[in-house]
């Protein structure tokens, strides 16, 4: 048991509602909404957390209360009319059945949304200042707009109550409408809603008073707010303290859900959703300061990924509840595991930000390491035992192979896992060598620990040969041999380019000037550029894309860019590497501008490239002919969630997963493994 676990597992009672422990998940927008409603997928995702022991799960980040704050942009929820109420009821029943409590976040996003998505209504804000993140110029709200939105909030609160939700919070963080009124960086009004802080607080007060009147004084209503906007013309920590104490003193809110920063542009957004480059709980001091001034419960979320930190935050009195939102995406059963004394089994969030990065490009939230999250209808978080014990051989202990071994072992199969190198983890081992990406190593660490605990025969430093595999008399062979870095098609690349993987592995140690050419737009090139620059190289990163690290999501790309700028790395987008040739003991790189076709040359000491990987498939091909399925996965059966339809009485079935099929990413490899193996 971790230190202070008792503090974390103590119930909290707010207005007669007893939450069974101090661990919660904050409202967020996983992109699971359908038609503006929280339907089965959304509900099952939260019910899983309730099943896993969470005290309070809040859903519906930025659920909208009015049509001019559309629910469409992130497949979110609209609470703007009564049609959502039956869904709330069904949702609440699902969560309550497991002893959890359920609340929602209500908001009007003001200027922080798109006008061209759902209803084509202009965005609104206290003043017509453009928000960099949403790139909209809002309409200045008239008093009639204010009255209308206040009424919308009140109606939405009533719907929450009627829907059986245990409470709701309004969002006044991340630059939504209420904090647009608060923040002098947005609100430049001269009427009673602008000017002094007292005036700027007025809109929020009117909203909350109207919600109270509509939902009843005994209904739990909280607020999510920043403890410090951390921008020069924004709300200071003192302003936020004043707002918090004033709203609490007036009895407007039953809890304060405090975070640090705001999200008006890329870097602010990345800071408010801290990734693995940040220390854990970087902004805990903000709710802690507010807690000293108020007598209502204070919640906090921001990179609290481990229970020890969470327990400390509660035990030391910084907060009353700790939100472990991303931690629950990685492992929805973490509270249950803690209370069952199985804390070592918790799949800990590494802070890769894969979940949130996907939603900002219109995708659904998925966990880099847990392929069952968000797929509860089809993917199990707890693997059921198979009826028949099989002999399974997995080749390659990268994320895909490890997950395959883990899931097969959970199924009760006898599993042998071959790994050529001395360390499990595959390419993650390389990724973790790049500066702030070290926490990636947590992914294989958990998988190895689970596989070992489940009795997987992990054979490190053992290259699987055809004979070695067949000697195990396998029923199933899973090839997860991963990929090998590809040097690209540029003339001379094969002889003269080195790959980012070789740099990370330490096979090459570039010095002097380096041209890093990136065709992938992923973390690989950006993080290697940082690494080389830190080692003293003069680095230029050129890419075919419109921007460096274009495929990296919105909570990670700004951090890469910040580091690259700080390190003086030259960033050259819209370029293609067409040729490399040596000149003396240096190299010349010929680059072509993709827009103008103009060619340029660079003379550098080293040229590093990232073109992704190509499958390592020699063993697969050797084993294919004799397998009962010729190495083919029956995709229809897999997608239907049915066992692979092969008769194993005459031989072994052969499957190929992860980068050994085609170079993709960690989640793809793990999902390949889970969905295949859960039915094997």
């Amino acid at each position: 048991m971790i230190a202070n676990a008792d503090a974390l597992l103590k119930p909290l009672t707010i207005k007669g509602l007893t939450i069974r422990n101090r661990v919660m998940s904050t409202s967020h927008a996983p992109g699971y909404g359908r038609d503006g409603k929280p339907q089965e997928r959304y509900q099952l995702y939260h019910a899983e957390k309730a099943k896993g022991g969470i005290g309070l799960t809040m859903f519906g980040g930025s659920s909208s209360v009015a049509p001019d704050s559309p629910a469409a942009p992130w497949n979110q929820i609209s609470v703007a009319d009564d049609s959502v109420i039956p869904y709330f009821r069904q949702f609440a029943d699902r969560v309550h059945a497991h002893g959890g409590k359920l609340m929602i976040q209500l908001t009007h996003m003001g200027r922080r949304t798109k006008w061209d998505t759902e209803h084509w209504l202009p965005t609104i804000s206290p003043s017509p200042r453009r928000e960099p993140a949403s790139r909209t110029v809002p309409k200045e709200m008239e008093e009639e707009d204010i009255a209308r939105v206040v009424k919308s909030f009140a109606e939405a609160a009533r719907r929450c109550r009627e829907g059986g939700l245990d409470g709701c919070e309004v969002s006044a963080a991340h630059g939504h409408l209420i904090d647009q009124f608060w923040s002098p960086s947005v609100n430049q009004r001269t009427d009673k809603y602008g000017g002094s802080l007292e005036n700027r607080m007025r809109f929020g007060i009117e909203v909350l008073e109207a919600m109270r009147a509509a939902a009843g004084d005994d209904y739990i209503i909280g607020i999510r707010m920043s403890g410090d906007e951390m921008i020069a013309d924004g709300l200071s920590q003192e302003d936020c303290l004043t707002i918090a104490t004033e709203y609490a003193r007036r009895g407007l809110v039953d809890f304060l859900n405090v975070l640090g920063g705001q999200a008006r542009d890329h870097i602010a957004h990345a800071i408010s959703l801290p990734n693995m480059s940040f220390p854990v709980a970087p902004f805990l001091f903000l709710p802690s300061a507010i807690k000293r001034e108020v007598d209502i419960p204070v919640f906090h979320a921001q990179r609290v990924t481990d229970l020890a930190t969470a327990a400390r935050a509660v035990a030391e009195g910084h907060v009353d509840m700790v939100a472990m939102t991303r931690a629950h995406i990685a492992d929805p059963h973490l509270v249950k595991k803690l209370s069952e004394g199985r804390a070592d089994d918790i799949r800990q969030c590494v802070g890769a930000g894969y979940c949130i990065d996907r939603i900002y490009v219109g995708g659904d939230a998925l966990c880099i390491q847990n392929a069952a999250t968000g797929r509860e209808a089809t993917m199990p978080h707890e693997i059921r035992k198979a009826d028949l014990r099989r002999r399974v051989v997995v080749i390659g202990a990268g994320p895909g192979g490890l997950e395959a071994a883990r899931v097969c072992a959970e199924r009760g199969h006898a599993v042998v896992l071959f790994e050529k190198s001395g360390q499990a983890g595959g390419q993650i081992g390389l990724a973790a060598k790049a500066g702030w990406r070290e926490a990636m190593s947590g992914i294989p660490r958990w998988l190895v620990a689970q596989a070992t605990k489940l009795g997987v025969d992990l054979r490190l430093n053992t290259e699987a040969t055809e004979a070695a595999v067949l000697a195990e008399k396998p029923d199933v062979v899973i090839v997860a041999t991963g990929g090998t870095p590809f040097r690209g098609h540029a003339k001379g690349a094969e002889q003269h380019a080195v790959t980012t993987a070789e740099v990370l592995a330490g096979a090459v140690e570039p010095t002097g000037s380096v041209l890093l050419y990136d065709e992938m737009g992923q973390h690989n090139a950006a993080s290697v550029a940082e690494l080389l620059a830190k080692r003293g190289c003069l680095v230029e990163i050129a890419t075919h894309d419109r921007m460096v690290a274009e495929e990296v999501g919105t909570t990670n790309q700004p951090i890469h860019l910040r580091e690259l700028y700080k390190l003086g790395v030259v960033m050259t987008p819209n370029m293609e590497l067409i040729e490399i040739y040596p000149e003396g003991n240096r190299f010349v790189a010929a680059l072509r501008n993709t827009m103008t076709d103009a060619e340029e040359e660079r003379v550098v000491d080293r040229i590093v490239v990232d073109h992704g990987t190509l499958p390592v498939d020699r063993l697969y091909r050797a084993l294919k002919a004799d397998s009962v399925n010729h190495g083919q996965t029956d995709q229809d059966a897999m997608l239907r969630g049915e066992p692979q339809p092969f008769d194993l009485s005459t031989g072994y079935a052969l499957y190929r997963i992860g980068d050994a099929v085609a170079g993709r990413n960690i989640h793809a490899a793990i999902y390949d493994a889970l969905r295949l193996c859960k039915d094997l």
Binding site: M1, A5, D6, L9, K10, P11, T18, I19, R20, N21, G55, G99, G100, S339, E340, G341
Partner: protein, 632 residues
């Protein structure tokens, strides 16, 4: 040879002389018991029950060591029979009967054979648990008496005689008078003191088929609380210590002794014995672990406990009150009562609790919980479960007594499993919530009777406000206090251990477990359930209902080894060479079981705290819930 007195008279005369000597010796010893306090003894009943107590209850214990049992039957039976028969030969018709002497011969021959059995335990090498000293002479004296008696009687039977007779008679006399002399402070004392102790036993209930294990309430108004010196014990307790035959069965059973903590129950009893008489022969058994030698004054008024006294305080606080020694003692000595009497003096008169125990006991006194935790937090474990407070309803079929374990995160899991099972079975259950105070078990075992009584009275008053038909608890320590010790304070309840209730529910078809045949389990009996309350079957029956592969440890049931968690031992925390729970888990590991099933919060905490443990620790309720849920 018939010049002044016939041998047929001298020989019985020897036995009569032996009896007289023994009587004198006993009287001298009994004078010492008289320093003890008065105690009510039902003499007539006790004496009437003596044969039964000896032949049934004592034999039940002795028979666990088959060799010792045979040995004792032969040597003691032979000795008694031969001596009685010889003594009766004072009657002329018998003295003149050759057939009678032949019978006497046989009796002495049996005694001789028994003497050899006695000697074989000590020569050439003494069994480790036995004491040396005067006990090493015992087989010699027995053999002398028996062989001398055999030969003498044989010659009388054959009508032979002559020159050999004085020698055989002399041999018998040397042995016989020696034995009689030993009745005061030698091995033979056990026979007389043991018989008297059986008749005057302070816990007669244990011979009547009920576990008479409740500590006696202490009159807190008495001028002196607890025992400081031998004279503070009642006279029949002093008598009971004198019955100790130094067989060492207690030390083999004692968990503290096994862990190398400075407690040896045999030595403790012998220190009480030696305390009575400054001239008592030196102790010749195994010492207190740690090698401390007896020191300090002796005498009925000499202080027994102290760093410089006969018994070091660490010895006193090492006891887990597990009653393993009591269970094993063939002389029916109540070691735990002695320990608690001594502790009471230390706690109440000297405020000399062990340093680490002061905090928990103070919290118990002030806050009603040894951890000083808010009473309302006792139900924290159940947040999210439907567990009503009895205060809101006034009555319930079952009152669930949560106990101290409810505060513990690990044990909360057990209680959650239990609550889920009760809910599923449709049991009408409620808890006291913030009204439940600790039963005071910890304070009572540590000798702080005042705190215990205050808590007992408060809890009895609380319980009097509500209607319920039974109390159910998962904590055997609470069960013992509520069931056996609260009646003295006016609280009379039907108290059921959770495993017994679960068995009832299974048998009534209200819980329908699936089988979990893949799991192998060994059940660890809690001392306060098995030894204190005699309940060993219900938990096993529940496990069997789940269809687990159940194996027994070498020590199980009423003879199970303690986990180390009782009697305040964990808070006293006297260092040893090993840890008791480590030893117990090693015993569990010998069974190869993957799960050690437990039924007590203390056992759960102690056994789960063992590092490098191979087996899982699961409460019976947790296993049953798993089996029940497997059937969904």
């Amino acid at each position: 040879m018939t010049s002044f007195m016939p041998l047929t008279t001298v020989f019985p005369g020897l036995v009569w002389a032996m009896a007289a000597l023994a009587l004198v010796q006993v009287a001298r010893r009994a004078a010492l018991w008289r320093v003890g306090a008065a105690a009510p003894v039902a003499w007539l009943h006790g004496l009437a029950q003596l044969p039964r107590r000896y032949l049934v209850d004592v034999h039940h214990v002795v028979a666990r060591d088959a060799y010792a049992s045979r040995m004792h039957a032969v040597v003691a039976g032979g000795l008694l029979a031969a001596s009685l028969l010889t003594a009766l030969a004072i009657l002329p018709p018998l003295a003149g009967s050759r057939a009678y002497w032949l019978l006497v011969t046989v009796a002495f021959a049996v005694t001789a054979a028994g003497s050899v059995l006695v000697g074989a335990r000590r020569y050439p090498v003494k069994q480790k648990r036995l004491s040396a000293g005067r006990f090493q002479i015992l087989p010699v004296l027995l053999l002398a008496y028996a062989v001398g008696g055999t030969l003498t009687a044989l010659m009388l039977a054959l009508g032979a005689g002559g020159i050999a007779l004085p020698f055989t008679l002399g041999l018998a006399a040397a042995g016989g008078l020696g034995l009689a002399f030993e009745v005061r402070q030698g091995p033979m004392r056990h026979a007389v003191a043991g018989a008297l102790h059986l008749a005057a036993h302070p816990r007669p209930g244990r011979f009547e088929g009920r576990p008479d294990t409740a500590l006696r309430p202490l009159d807190l108004g008495a001028p002196r609380l607890g025992a400081e010196m031998p004279a503070d014990f009642t006279w029949n307790r002093l008598l009971s210590y004198d019955s100790c035959v130094s067989c060492g069965r207690c030390e083999i059973a004692c968990p503290a002794f096994a862990a190398g903590q400075p407690l040896n129950p045999k030595r403790l009893i012998q220190d009480l014995v030696a305390g009575l008489n400054p001239a008592e022969p030196a102790y010749a058994g195994n010492p207190y672990p740690g090698g401390r030698e007896g020191q300090g004054e002796r005498g009925p008024l000499a202080r027994l406990i102290g760093p410089d006294a006969r018994i070091h305080p660490d010895t006193l606080w090492s006891c887990t009150t597990c009653r393993a020694c009591v269970e094993e003692c063939p002389m029916m000595i109540e070691h735990v009562d002695a320990v608690v009497s001594l502790r009471r003096y230390q706690a109440l008169e000297r405020a000399a609790l062990p340093e680490k125990a002061i905090g928990p006991v103070t919290e118990l006194r002030q806050a009603g919980d040894p951890g000083g935790r808010p009473l309302a937090a006792r139900t924290d474990f159940a947040a999210g479960l439907d567990l009503p407070l009895i205060a809101g309803r006034g009555e319930a079929e079952i009152l669930l007594w949560l106990g101290e374990g409810a505060y513990d995160l690990r044990y909360g899991r057990t209680l959650r499993a239990l609550v889920r099972l009760l809910r599923r079975a449709g049991v009408d259950v409620a808890v006291l919530g913030a009204e439940e105070r600790d039963t005071g078990d910890l304070a009572r075992r540590l000798g702080d009777e005042a705190t215990f009584q205050a808590l007992a009275r408060a809890n009895v008053a609380t319980l009097a406000r509500y209607r319920f038909s039974r109390i159910v608890t998962a904590d055997p320590h609470a069960l013992h206090a509520l069931r056996n010790e609260y009646p003295a304070f006016g609280g009379h309840y039907t108290v059921v251990h959770h495993t017994a209730l679960l068995l009832e529910l299974i048998r009534a078809g209200k819980l329908v477990p699936q089988t979990l045949p893949d799991l192998s389990v060994t059940y660890h009996d809690p001392c306060y359930l098995a030894r204190y309350n005699g309940e060993t079957e219900a938990p096993r029956a529940v496990l069997d209902a789940i269809g687990l592969a159940r194996v027994e440890m070498a020590r199980s049931g009423k003879r199970a080894m303690c986990c180390g968690g009782g009697g305040g031992a964990p808070v006293s925390d006297v260092p040893g060479e090993r840890r008791i729970p480590d030893l117990r888990m090693a015993q569990a590991a010998e069974t190869g079981a993957g799960i050690v099933a437990v039924a007590c919060p203390s056992c759960t905490a102690m056994l789960e705290g063992v590092t490098d443990r191979k087996a899982e620790i699961r409460d019976v309720a947790e296993l049953l819930l798993q089996a029940v849920e497997a059937g969904r």
